[in-house]
Symmetry: none
């Protein structure tokens, strides 16, 4: 299914350096997603990934830091399938997840409102999100809550 593949692509490019669509295609094939370069090209367009020139003269695909709109397209599904509840105290937000899902959720949370988030730390079923200040934390909590209840 396309949605699963998209999620896989996002975590792939985060963890390994992918320089071309062919590389990405091969990784996906290894993982059981039988797709061609044409589909990878479409996926990249849909996910708004960019091919970034690196210092070493290499290129790598990466997700661009998100506005809220971009975020909802990219990570909404991941979050809504991993997060169970969210609460905050002071400038910290605790995001409770299904067992073992915290790392996956943190990947998404890291890309959300980076202006509000200082850092995240994932355990097994909990992600701690350090926000810049209390109002950032409150806002963050509010938005995540929305995403949880809005499954798609």
């Amino acid at each position: 299914m396309k949605k699963n593949r998209h999620e896989t692509i996002l975590s792939l490019i985060e963890n390994v350096d992918i320089g071309t669509q062919e590389e990405l295609m091969n990784k996906l094939n290894e993982m059981g997603y039988k797709v061609t370069q044409a589909t990878v090209s479409r996926d990249i367009k849909a996910l708004k990934l960019v091919k970034t020139p690196l210092k070493g003269g290499q290129y790598k695909y990466s997700a661009v830091k998100s506005s809220l709109d971009d975020f909802s397209e990219k990570y909404k599904s991941i979050l809504s399938h991993s997060v169970t509840s969210v609460d905050s105290a002071g400038n910290m937000v605790a995001v409770k997840c299904y067992s073992g899902m915290a790392a996956a959720a943190a990947a998404g949370l890291d890309n959300l409102m980076s202006d509000k988030v200082v850092g995240t730390l994932a355990g097994d079923d909990t992600v701690f999100v350090l926000c810049r200040d209390e109002s950032s934390a409150t806002e963050f909590k509010r938005i995540i809550s929305q995403y949880i209840s809005d499954k798609n």
Copy 2:
């Protein structure tokens, strides 16, 4: 001169939507810079411009803030080989590391400025550093930042 052309490119992509290197080449030619697509490709690599997919199904070149990848291969010691960014809020500092490197970084951080540090907690790619107070955290962040940016 290359520098002038680079500056021109940066202002061009900021002001008009450029979707291909050929478009950019034509604009440059109109403005008196006689260059070919080959040079434009090199310029784009040098300036680290990215071809971003837009909502409407179009593409456009844009400048992107330099990120984690800029730092790779640059560090000399263990910290400089693992830390990518650092930020603080209140008396907490979040040290972002490469995937899987947080534990290694934390070992170093524990021994660094121990007078300011109460404790550290490492996840996979983040270390939370609990500092004695806010000014300690700020100072800690400042020093690590210097360390990171003091590359080569």
